[in-house]
Amino acid sequence: MQIYLPIAELSMNLFFLVGIGGAVGFLSGLFGVGGGFLLTPLLIFSGVPAPVAVASVTGQVVAASTSGALSYYRRGQIDLHLSIYLVLSGILGAIGGVATFSLLRAAGQLDLFISLGFLILLGFVGTLMLIESVRVWFRRQQGIVVRERLPNQHNWFHGLPWRVRFKKSKLYISVIPVLALGTAIGFVGSLLGIGGGFILVPALVYLLRVPGNMVIGTSLLQVVAMMAATTILHAISSQTVDILLAFCLMVGGTVGAQFGASAGKYLRGEQLRAMLAVLVLAVAIRFGLSLVLTPDDIYSMAVVGAGGVA
């Protein structure tokens, strides 16, 4: 059944949209990530103009992360104090990201930067995750007990000025790395249409040393708040948020996420991380090839100006 998307100004198959929303939702439930990094490229490859894909997926990421964030909140596994710092700096970063998005779009280099951004970010994170999970797996094979790093080990930047006590996370650290992290995630997330959960979670664990029971909830809340702000910013500045497209993806996504979450219980942590790493690397390689291989057509066209979807 075809459905007409009023902002993208083309019609797509409803079941295809709900289907990819569901498939990505399943993976996001399985791995505990927003799924934006899979959904945005999938939409772009299936013909949705890049600005519409990026802006609409931000809406879908809000929906995908909301139910998770709520359940973590009920269990008291969100550090609200830390979240406020992350969210406020995240919104600041998102404003910069959306402004850069408009500039790149006008200059005709948006597609390039989206590809480059995905390549660098996903390639880097995917490689790190793969190395880490393979190492854990090998150690387990050798019978060595894997010990989580102690949360009270400090890095040099924890001692920077403006130290704040985050009671729930049992941290007394400088807010500078917190704000820097929030701004960076906000910038990258709004530029690429991803929630950034898969960068934020490792960053909270390894850089800020947030205890494990607080990490996922805090990261989910940050993703919800920042992507909500980004959706509004995209709606104002580029006017490319397609509510109908986002809604189809949301419906599939929220359903798929539930099944993914239950399927995730049958897998071990490092297995999940290894699979996610492979997935992330595959997307990165796909983007890398699109940059390096000779394109089928070296010419392309776009509409500019009001209502344009460059």
Partner: protein, 252 residues
């Protein structure tokens, strides 16, 4: 002034002698885009009749028809990628202002069999000409990027030349089909019909139709442009609600 008057006199003297007029119509004047819109086919049809008060009560062919269907005008850019240190990126772009978003030429025979290339060019009937008029660049870029833009538009069926697009049902009655795909740009369209006889343009006629979103699609499209802040907030509320509902429904 005198020359103009003479020309007018000449036209009045010779015009009615040609003595044909076109009666044309289009099957729909409004194409509505609804949620299930997946393209639409319109029929343009018309009849060639003797002009009122003409010397002969009938018309004599053979006639040829060329119909130009033009969609709403847009500003477009064509971009060319180049390889910089192993990475392909957009290196050059040319802007085309007031460029038709839809341009189809329909005729009943090869265009060059109908009239001379000069006449075709004067009437601005060829897709490549649209690009050349709209380009904002030097002559070389205008030609290379213009031709590529027309090729890209043709690949998406937004541009096209169909020399079997007009079918004569009788000596004087013709019909033609216009295909609008689901990604046809919304806006006003003009179907301009030209009647040729013996290589000469005899008369011409325009019909308009509009493609527009109606109902919910129109509401969304307008809201996104006119109330972007409210639209964005609604999108977020919808997302939060869907996420919350999903959590409630599937809670185990």
């Amino acid at each position: 002034m005198r020359a103009a008057f003479l020309a007018l006199l000449l036209w009045v003297a010779t015009g009615p002698a040609l003595a044909e007029r076109l009666v044309t119509s289009v099957s729909r004047t409004e194409v509505s885009i609804t949620s299930s819109f997946s393209g639409e086919t319109l029929t343009l049809f018309g009849n060639i009749e003797p002009e009122a008060g003409a010397a002969l009560p009938y018309v004599e062919g053979p006639y040829h028809i060329i119909i130009i269907v033009t969609g709403p005008l847009q500003d477009r850019v064509a971009r060319r990628k180049a390889n910089f240190f192993g990475v392909w990126l957009n290196s050059q772009q040319v802007t085309f202002e007031n460029f038709p978003s839809y341009f189809h030429v329909l005729s009943d025979a090869n265009l060059t069999n109908i009239t001379s290339p000069i006449a075709l060019a004067e009437l601005n009937m060829l897709p490549q000409q649209q690009a050349r008029h709209a380009a904002r660049a030097g002559w070389w870029d205008t030609i290379t990027f213009g031709d590529e833009l027309v090729r890209l538009m043709s690949e998406q069926s937004l541009f096209g030349v169909n020399t079997q697009g007009v079918v004569f049902r009788s000596n004087t009655f013709y019909s033609a089909q216009v295909n609008l795909a689901s990604d046809a740009p919304p806006g006003p369209y003009i179907a301009h019909t030209y009647l040729f006889k013996g290589g000469q343009l005899i008369t011409e006629k325009s019909d308009g139709f509009s493609v527009r979103k109606i109902g919910f699609e129109r509401f969304l499209g307008l809201a996104a442009v006119q109330q972007p802040l409210l639209y964005g907030i609604c999108a977020v509320i919808l997302a939060l609600f869907t996420g919350w509902l999903g959590g409630v429904v599937f809670r185990r």
